[in-house]
């Protein structure tokens, strides 16, 4: 019986999976059509990655960059220097790694909270809602450099508007603090990163909220659930798939953020604002040590891969259990 059905289907050209080849159809055509994508993938991702990994195993200093394919083999030396906590390079990398962890956790948490609050607040329709929504998206639409550069001006100690408001107008502080130097550098960095990032969280969460059917809320409120309970028992669980992706993406973005410290601090970055990508940039470009910079990059890549896989495994298991 099953065989008969299968035969009939096949006769009608409806086999599950691959459709039968029509006479005259060229077998190489699909590969030809795929070729540009494969080629670009190779060129943009695979080859550079392989070259980057290769670079991390050679002594690629200024003495060899003109003929970099002939750079001498360094084995694991670049890695050894990068993780040697007794050496200056290793200590610097660790310090910058810890700063980056703190920066990422703070930025992602605050961005998510702000985005969630704004998304929930903008759910009910009211006059001027679309205007407020647009306003919230401005930081996201603004070119990163322009936005961060403006922050740089605003956070200057003597001429910046932040101190002007805090000290001259409000009188909250008597002494003008430095925002881009010393201990406040991380605060400023997080502030600017959140300012740039939260609209994305807001946008994503708002889209997620709109996919939850309204009648679930109506039913809940008939049953006597207040808005906090509704949020906890309906909104949060419904947004779970959105949140999983959102938090991961936010984390990966902040962890590898380069623009914010680069533009905010320029070449005068303080130790408290020395994010890891910027640290690696300095290690590679300012001292022309691309081998050691590449080793640090590979370590960073491995770390992010591990974090991502652990995160995905945990969240997968949880959602299967749910």
């Amino acid at each position: 019986m099953a065989v008969a059905v299968e035969t009939r289907r096949r006769a009608q050209g409806q086999v599950r999976g691959r459709p039968p080849r029509q006479p005259g159809q060229k077998s190489w055509l699909p590969y030809l059509l795929l070729a540009p994508a494969v080629l670009l993938e190779l060129l943009i991702h695979i080859i550079p990655m392989v070259v980057g990994i290769w670079m991390s195993f050679v002594k690629l200093t200024k003495f060899f960059i003109a003929n970099w394919s002939a750079a001498p083999w360094a084995g694991f030396n670049n890695y050894r220097i990068a993780v040697d906590l007794n050496g200056t390079v290793g200590q610097g990398l660790l310090r910058s790694f810890l700063v980056t962890i703190a920066f990422s956790l703070l930025t992602v948490t605050i961005s998510w909270c702000l985005g969630m609050a704004a998304a929930v607040a903008l759910q009910p329709t009211f006059k001027g809602r679309s205007f407020v929504r647009t306003l919230f998206l401005v930081p996201y639409a603004l070119p990163a450099y322009a936005g961060i550069l403006t922050w740089n001006f605003m956070l200057q100690r003597d001429t910046g508007v932040v101190n002007h408001v805090l000290v001259d107008n409000l009188g909250v502080m008597s002494d003008r603090p430095f925002w881009l130097l010393g201990g406040n550098a991380l605060t400023s960095l997080v502030t600017v990163a959140v300012w740039r990032l939260w609209p994305f969280a807001f946008l994503t969460l708002m889209a997620g909220l709109q996919s939850i059917p309204r009648d679930v809320y109506e039913a809940a409120s008939v049953d006597g659930a207040g808005s906090v309970r509704q949020w906890r028992n309906i909104t949060l669980p419904s947004l779970r798939p959105v949140n999983l992706v959102l938090v991961l993406v936010l984390f990966l973005w902040t962890f590898s953020d380069f623009n914010t410290p680069y533009v905010l601090f320029g070449t005068a970055q303080p130790p408290k604002g020395d994010l890891i990508t910027f640290h690696i940039y300095n290690a590679s470009f300012l001292t022309w040590n691309f081998g050691s910079g590449a080793a640090m990059s590979v370590l960073l890549l491995l770390f992010l891969l591990v974090v991502t896989s652990v995160y995905l495994v945990i969240t997968n298991r949880r959602s299967r259990r749910a």
Binding site: I65, T88, V89, G182, F258, G266, T287
Partner: protein, 435 residues
């Protein structure tokens, strides 16, 4: 070559680094035939466009004389080093380019540049024509240089004549006199300070770490090119400079945020500070900010009593030829032309440079006294930054260590001699680890 450079560019971006200045637009290609040169000029004038305007007639004249066409690209300072790195890595390089002369020995180590051996030197008019201190910046000692001087610059101490006269002060001749004068002219209540420092600029900072160390007779590298950052003379020199903000309090702590020299110069030009250390090309920004050239004077940056008379490093711009140029003869002709007395005279004023040729008078200012002082500093009181391959690492590590120490002072901390030594040790370890 094409594929290699593509891979190189891709590899650089694969490091996850936002390299903004990739020279991938192809106009840096040197394979453009025998009668065209590509020339990368660094930004010397008031803007990139201003540089183009100044250089265009000069380059046209070269074309008229030799029939060699020159493709000009002016590159801003922030991009220049990265562009050079990319050019070296990819082989997509110009034929001739400007470099910061302090990078000469580091760039020489890459083997990507044409050595000016006896024959090449002869082709550009002989090494005798250059001022000796200027030519010394061309590369490491004992090797044919891979760059020759183009524009000379030197630091001087600018002082506000009216403020000095009002306080009954004479221009300082020793460090002690300078500090005493600065203290007398500092009045934090009125937001007036004796000096402005570009204390957040690592390049400016490393220059003064070097000069102050040199005034103490200290060296930053030994004869084998090994770093000797923690020598007492260097530690004390650095601390002396930091103390202008820390102990003497003659500089506003917000100077720690001055990440380039221009901000300090602006403070000087607007009367907020009485003295500023800057190179001779600061005059145009001082005047642009409303101070007449008759209102300020210049003296050599003074050394402590009994110290070495080093007032500046030999600053300026050098010219290099890329090793893989297909137009070596034309490139040499071009270097000869650019370092020719007539061309030097034409460019000396708009780019405010000191002559790098013997027997020339500076054209950058109409004030003969100012010209003479700077020329004297340049030729007699300046010392090249260490001419070792690790010079670039020295600049970035020591300069950034200085930034951090100024930041600590500005935010209320204290920096002791031991702290300086530890910071310099850190910087030295980074240089050694970089190999």
């Amino acid at each position: 070559m094409r594929l290699r450079s593509l891979i190189a560019a891709a590899a650089v971006s694969a490091l996850g680094i936002g390299l903004t200045a990739c020279g991938g637009d192809g106009n840096g290609d040197s394979g453009s035939g025998g009668d065209t040169l590509t020339y990368w000029a660094s930004n010397q004038g008031t803007s990139l466009d201003n540089d183009k305007q100044v250089l265009k007639p000069v380059l046209d004249k070269f074309t008229a004389e030799t029939g060699v066409k020159v493709n000009l690209e002016v590159i801003g300072w922030n991009d220049l080093q990265t562009r050079i790195q990319t050019a070296i890595t990819s082989g997509q390089a110009p034929d001739v380019l400007n470099i910061g002369n302090t990078w000469a020995a580091s760039l020489q180590a890459t083997d990507a540049f044409l050595p000016f051996d006896d024959e090449a030197m002869k082709a550009i008019g002989g090494k005798e024509k250059f001022v000796e201190t200027a030519l010394a910046t061309g590369g490491a000692a004992g090797k044919p240089p891979t760059s020759v001087p183009l524009y000379g610059l030197a630091y001087g101490l600018y002082y506000n004549k009216a403020m000095f006269a009002q306080a009954g002060l004479q221009p300082p001749t020793t460090w002690e006199e300078m500090v005493a004068a600065a203290k007398k002219l500092t009045n934090p209540a009125k937001k007036v300070y004796g000096m402005a420092l570009a204390a957040g600029s690592y390049t400016e900072n490393v220059h003064f770490a070097f000069i102050n160390g040199a005034q103490n007779g200290a060296e930053w590298f030994d004869a084998e090119g090994k770093p000797t950052f923690t020598e007492d003379g260097n530690v004390n020199g650095v601390l002396r400079y930091l103390d202008l903000m820390q102990k003497d309090k003659v500089a506003n702590t917000s100077n720690a945020q001055y990440d380039n020299g221009t901000k300090a110069v602006n403070d000087f030009a607007t009367g907020k500070v009485a003295m500023v250390l800057n190179q001779n090309n600061a005059a145009s920004s001082i005047v642009a900010n409303g101070m007449k050239s008759s209102e300020y004077g210049v003296v050599a940056f003074p050394a402590p009593a009994g110290g070495q008379q080093v007032a500046s490093h030999v600053a300026g711009i050098n010219l290099s030829i890329f090793q893989n140029t297909k137009n070596k003869d034309a490139a040499l002709k071009f270097v000869k032309y650019m370092t020719d007395p007539a061309t030097q005279k034409t460019l000396g004023k708009p780019f405010a440079s000191l002559p790098v040729l013997k027997g020339e008078t500076p054209a950058f200012t109409d004030d003969p006294a100012e010209a003479k002082i700077f020329q004297d500093i340049y030729e007699n009181k300046s010392k090249p930054l260490p001419l070792v391959p690790a010079e670039d690492q020295y600049e970035s590590t020591v300069g950034k260590a200085m930034n951090a120490m100024f930041a600590k002072i500005a935010t209320g901390g204290t920096v002791t001699a031991d702290d300086v030594r530890a910071a310099l040790k850190d910087a030295q370890d980074q240089v050694t680890a970089g190999g």
